[in-house]
């Protein structure tokens, strides 16, 4: 974990609604593991006191990339970032995904919603073997990196709410179709909206498979100090409040105690 000042080496649109920002961050790059995130300081937004968390999407040598979508005022301000700008980054943060070994029996099955594909691509690029990616989004603009996964040899199945790419519907549709005929045990790695994570988690629990879910919580400090990002976790029958930023963002499906109101 470092506070590192990095200069912007690339900042490009990805499709119509996303951007990729690449920073030279040798110290963060050296430590980063798939599933971890960075906490970006938005100096250009002078009335912002909070950093913004983004999953690590790629690490290439000294460089760290994130893939982001414009959601609100922070990500809107990020659009003005230019090549050569200095950005202050806190990271890498969080626990990261457990990396299955080359001889693990289960088949890695990644499930991504929108920008949730970012940490999963980093994961895929670090896995000694290939598997399946299920990617979903509202529309085809939210389906990202398909070619990159295919280039790594992954089998990609898609779903969009409006049917503009892949199956029309939720990503669970192609996932359930595959599960129905699957001949190998899956091990899930999922990142996306809560509803999706919960659905994947339920399938993992029901099937008795492992399911690693990357949770998305609004964050303050990002390092476990402020207790803003807590999630109820059950371990050995005991419920405790875990900090998504520090103890997560990755939790095993069985551990997550979803609130009744959560989708």
């Amino acid at each position: 974990m470092h506070v590192e000042e990095g200069s912007v080496v690339a900042h490009e649109p990805m499709g119509s609604a996303y951007r990729v920002l690449t920073l030279r961050l040798p110290r963060v790059a050296a430590q980063a593991r798939p599933g971890q995130f960075v906490h970006l300081r938005l100096a250009m937004l002078s009335d912002a006191v909070l950093r913004r968390p983004f999953s690590i999407y790629r690490v290439d040598g000294d460089c760290v990339s994130i893939l982001y979508k414009t959601i609100g005022r922070g990500t809107a301000a990020m659009k003005s970032i230019r090549l050569g700008d200095a950005m202050n980054v806190l990271g890498p943060l969080g626990n990261g995904f457990p990396l299955p070994t080359a001889d693990a029996i289960a088949l890695p099955v990644l499930v991504a919603g929108g920008y949730g594909v970012a940490p999963l691509y980093f994961l895929a690029s670090r896995l000694p073997r290939t598997g399946l990616l299920f990617a979903g989004g509202a529309t085809n603009a939210d389906i990202l990196c398909v070619e990159c996964f295919q280039a790594l040899g992954w089998d990609v199945r898609l779903a969009t709410d409006d049917g503009s790419l892949g199956v029309r519907g939720l990503v669970t549709a192609p996932l359930d179709a595959w599960l129905g005929e699957a001949r190998r045990e899956p091990e899930f790695f999922a990142c996306g909206p809560n509803g999706m994570l919960r659905a994947v988690g339920e399938r993992a629990v029901a099937g008795g498979w492992k399911g690693w879910l990357s949770l998305d919580r609004h964050m303050g400090c990002g390092v476990g100090a402020c207790l803003a990002c807590v999630q109820m976790i059950r371990k050995d029958g005991v419920e405790t409040l875990a900090r998504v930023c520090k103890d997560g963002p990755i939790f095993e499906s069985r551990e997550v105690v979803w609130e009744p109101s959560e989708p």
């Binding site: 974990m1 470092h2 506070v3 300081r41 009335d47 912002a48 006191v49 909070l50 950093r51 202050n88 806190l90 919580r217 609004h218 303050g220 400090c221 990002g222 390092v223 476990g224 100090a225 402020c226 207790l227 803003a228 990002c229 807590v230 999630q231 409040l241 520090k246 609130e259």
Partner: protein
């Protein structure tokens, strides 16, 4: 020119410099230890501790606003025993005073927490949180009423020999009265201020953004309010003041000291930039040097009217 002396002794607590980290914004120490050299801090004030473990409020607990954030963590903590067992051993490895922020739902609970910490190795003082806006019982309710302020401070005083530092609420008309009340009931120093009662509503859902409905505003937004309160309190009492509210760089800390604070604590800015407290230390050092002041103490309360 010699290097300015930053060290201070506040309510008997010796600090290397007057820059502390504020309760609830720096965890219990380990969270930031990889980033911040804890030995360079004036003191660490840990997250509020109660008699029993406490779960805090539901999420969302925190929301950014213009120039600050509104939080309603709700004082989640492992309880006094959990703190002593889990975090104090870690903190003892460092050469930095640890001030424990305490709270309770009754004056007796406050006193009981104080009693349990009294004499515990590695604790330099107690900050009494009578001003948390985020719990229904206790908290701010105590700190905006002179009688209950007196009751809590007095009860704690009777059960500990540690220096006690009540932390005042900003949402009062007459901070001087509360400052005097605390001192009369045995306070060795005062912290001011806690976050300011506030609320944020999501206009799409028409629901309060925080699960707790309301929360406390902190950050740069409240700094000019805090300076006024520190200035008023400094003219009312003689005990040292720890100023808190919106520090992001040395400038705001120096403003507080000129207004009358002997020390300061960095809160929300730890989230923006974990190295803020250390930058403030360096900035104060430079400022003292540039202004020909031999020590941090020479700056305190020197506002020219």
């Amino acid at each position: 020119m010699t290097t300015p002396q930053l060290g201070i002794t506040l309510a008997g607590i010796r600090m290397k410099n007057p820059v502390m980290v504020a309760s609830g914004t720096f965890g219990y120490g380990p969270e930031y230890a990889d980033l911040v050299d804890l030995n360079r801090l004036g003191a660490i004030v840990v997250k509020g501790i109660s008699l029993e473990p406490w779960g805090g409020n539901r999420t969302p607990r925190l929301v950014e606003v213009s120039g600050g954030l509104v939080n309603a963590i709700g004082l989640q903590n492992p309880g006094v025993q959990g703190f002593v067992a889990k975090y104090l051993p870690f903190l003892r490895h460092f050469d930095v005073p640890v001030i424990v922020n305490i709270w309770g739902k009754t004056a007796e609970e406050y006193a009981e927490v104080a009693a349990r910490l009294d004499g515990t190795e590695g604790i330099a003082g107690l900050e009494i949180n009578i001003s948390c806006p985020n719990i229904k019982a206790g908290g701010s309710a105590f700190g905006t009423n002179l009688e209950s302020t007196a009751r809590v401070v007095g009860a704690v005083r009777r059960r500990t020999r540690l220096p006690i530092i009540p932390k005042l609420a900003p949402n009062v008309s007459d901070i001087a009265a509360f400052a005097r009340c605390c001192v009369e009931n045995g306070a060795d120093a005062l912290s001011l201020i806690n976050s300011y009662p506030a609320m944020v509503i999501d206009i799409e859902s028409r629901r309060p953004v925080l699960a707790n409905v309301t929360g406390g505003l902190s950050g740069p937004a409240i700094h000019p309010i805090a300076v006024k309160l520190v200035y008023d309190a400094a003219r009312a009492v003689k005990v040292p003041l720890i100023a808190i509210g919106g520090i992001t760089q040395a400038r705001e800390a120096i403003e507080f000291m000129i207004a009358g604070a002997s020390a300061v604590a960095v809160g929300t800015a730890n989230f923006t930039e974990p190295l803020t407290a250390l930058e403030v230390v360096d900035g104060i050092t430079r400022y003292l040097g540039a202004h020909g002041l031999a020590s941090a103490g020479e700056l305190v309360g020197t506002v020219r009217l």
